[in-house]
Point group: D2
Amino acid sequence: MKALFLNCSLKNSNEPSNTDALYKEAESIFHEEGVESETIRAADYNISYGISEDEGEGDEWPIIFEKVKAADIVIIGTPLWLGEKSSVATLVIERLYGGSGITNEKGQSVYYNKVGGVVITGNEDGAKNAARSILYAFSHIGFTVPPNVDTYWVGEAGPGASYIEANGHKNDFSVGHAKTMAHNLIHFANMFQKHAIPAEGNTME
Amino acid sequence: MKALFLNCSLKNSNEPSNTDALYKEAESIFHEEGVESETIRAADYNISYGISEDEGEGDEWPIIFEKVKAADIVIIGTPLWLGEKSSVATLVIERLYGGSGITNEKGQSVYYNKVGGVVITGNEDGAKNAARSILYAFSHIGFTVPPNVDTYWVGEAGPGASYIEANGHKNDFSVGHAKTMAHNLIHFANMFQKHAIPAEGNTME
Amino acid sequence: MKALFLNCSLKNSNEPSNTDALYKEAESIFHEEGVESETIRAADYNISYGISEDEGEGDEWPIIFEKVKAADIVIIGTPLWLGEKSSVATLVIERLYGGSGITNEKGQSVYYNKVGGVVITGNEDGAKNAARSILYAFSHIGFTVPPNVDTYWVGEAGPGASYIEANGHKNDFSVGHAKTMAHNLIHFANMFQKHAIPAEGNTME
Amino acid sequence: MKALFLNCSLKNSNEPSNTDALYKEAESIFHEEGVESETIRAADYNISYGISEDEGEGDEWPIIFEKVKAADIVIIGTPLWLGEKSSVATLVIERLYGGSGITNEKGQSVYYNKVGGVVITGNEDGAKNAARSILYAFSHIGFTVPPNVDTYWVGEAGPGASYIEANGHKNDFSVGHAKTMAHNLIHFANMFQKHAIPAEGNTME
C-alpha cells in the first residue's frame, strides 16, 4: 500500500516546511502499519498551467501524475495565505482535475478506489476553509473522503509563529487528528483493495 | 437499507420544492435497488438554535436526529441564496455537529459507517460552494463521502426559472449525476454493512 | 451618525456573547467619535425564514429592518461553527437580501451609502471564511466595504476557550483591527453623508 | 484615472479569453468616461511563488506591481475550475498580499484609495464563490469594495459553452452588471481623488 503526500508549500524543498512537520505525525502511523509513504514538494517541479494530464514541453506534472496513479492514498498539504490554500495547491488540483477523464479498467475515473486527506498549517485561521476546498475537489473527481481526514494546525489570530516554531507537535488535537486521519486512510485503502467500488452506475461513457 | 433526505428549503412542505424534484432522480435508483427512502422537510419542524443533540422544551430536532441515527444514507438538500446553502441547511448542520460526540457501540462517532451526499438547486450559481460546505461538514463529523455525490442543477447567470420551471429534468448532467450519486451511496452503505470501519485509531475517549 | 451591530450568536441576550465582547473595542471608537451605537441580539427576535422584507404574521424581521434602514453603519457579528458563520447570521443575510430590491429616493438599492463590517469570534479557525461570506453579501446587495473591516479573534487549533475566557482583549491584533475597522467605517459614513454615491449607472428599473 | 484589468486566465494572450470578452462591457464605460484601461494577461509573465513584492531573479511580478501601484481601479478577472478562481488568480492575490505592507505617503497601506472589482466567466457555477474570495482579499489588504462590483457569467449546470461561444453578450444581467460595476468603480475612484481616506486609525507602525 502506497501513500503519496503532495506538499503544496510555496517553497521548494531547500527550505523546511511546517506542513511537512505535521505530516510526520501521520507518516509515523503509515510506517507502523507497513504503508509506504513518499513526499513530493510540488514547488520542486515545473508544473504548467492548464487542464489536461500533460501540457507538453517542459511540463513536469506527468511525473507527479504517475505517482498519483500508483498511490492508494493521496494527501494534499498546504500552507494558508489570506485564509485559503496556496496557489500551488490550486494548481495541483487543477491538474488532478485535468486527469479525471482518464478511466481505470472498469471504466470508472482513474481516481476510484483511492482515498484522500489533507494536512494544513498556517500561523492563523483558514484551515477548515482550505480543507473544505481540497476534500470537495477529491470527491468531485473520484476519490473517496473517509471521516476525519482534515488534519490541521493554526495559531491564535494575528501574526505569529507557525507549526514548528510554535511547538505545534505539543498540540494534542492536531497530532491526534493526524493519527486518526492516517488510520482511516489505511482502513479505507484496505477496504478498496479487498472490495473495489462496484462498477455500476459510475462509469464514464 | 435506509436513505434519509433532509430537504433544507426555506419553505415548508405546503409548497413544492425544486430540490425535491431533483432528488426524485436519485430516489428512483433507491427504489430500484430496494432502498427505503424518506424525505423530511426541515422547515416543517421547530428546530432550536444551539449545539447539542437536544435543546429542550419545544425543540423538534430530536425527532429528526432519531431518523438520522437510523439511516445508512443521509442526503442534505438545499436551495441557494447569494450562492450559499440556506440558513435552514446551516442550522441542520449545526445540530448534526451537536450530536457528533455521541458514540456507537465501538466508541466511534455515531455517524461512522453512514454515507452522505447532497442535492442542490438554484436558479443560478453557488452549487459547488454549497456542496463543498455540506460535504466537508459530513466528513468532519464522521460520515464518509463517496466519489461524485454532489448532485446539483443551476441555470445561467441572472434571475430566471429554477429546476422545475426550467425543465431541469432534461439536463442530462444533473440527472445523470443524481443517479451516479445514488449508486455510489448504495455501494458504500453496502460495504459498511458487510465491513464496518475498524475501530482502530478513530474512537473517542 | 448611527452604527447598528447585529450580533448573530445562537444564544439570546440572557447569555453573554464573546462576539459582543470584541465589538466593545470597536464601539469605544464609535463613542469617542460621537457615533451612536446600538446592539441587537438577533436570537432575541422571531425571524421567519424567507426572502422578502416581511414574511407576515409573527415575523419580527421588520423591526430589525427598520433599524438597518436608519443606520449608516451595519456590522454583523457571528460565532463560528465548523469554520463558518452561524445559521442566525445566514438567516439575517437572507433577510437583508430580501430587502435589496427596495430603493432609496434616487432609485438605488436602499443599502447604497451604507457601510458594512464584521466582528467574528470562535475558539478556533474559520474567521476569514465567515468574513468573506458576509462582506461579499454586503457588497452584492448594495453596501460599501471599506478596507480592513474584518475584525476577528480565534484561538489555536482544537477545543479551547473563546474570546472572553481566553483574555482575547490582550490580543493586540484583534483589538487593533477592531479600532481600525471602526475608524474606516466612520470615515466612509462621513464621506457618504457629504458626497453620496452618484445615481449614475447603478439605479434599479 | 487608470483602470488595470488583471486577467488570470490559465492561458497566455496567444489565446482568446472569455473573461476578456466580458470585461469589454465594463471597458466600454471606462472609455466613455475617459478612464484609461489596460489589460494584463498574468500568464504572459513569469510570476514567482512567494509572499513578497519581489522574489528576485527571474520574477516578473514587479512589472505588474508597478502597474497596480499606478492604477486607481484594479479588476481581477478569472475563469472557474471546480467552482473556484484559477491558480493564476490565487498567485496574483498572494503577490498583492505580499506588497500590502508597503505604505503610501500617509503611512496607510499602498492600496488605500484604490478600488477593486472582479470579472468572472465559467461554463457553469462558481462565480459568486470566486467573487467572494477575491473581493475579500481586496478589502483585507487595503482596497475599497464598492457595491455591485461582482461581474460574472456562467451557464447552466454541466459541460457546455463558455461566454463567447454561448453568446453571453446577450445576457442582460451579466452585461448590465459589468456596466454598473464600471460606473461604481469610477464613482469611488473620483471620490478618493477628491477626498482621500483620512489617515486616522488606519496607518501602519
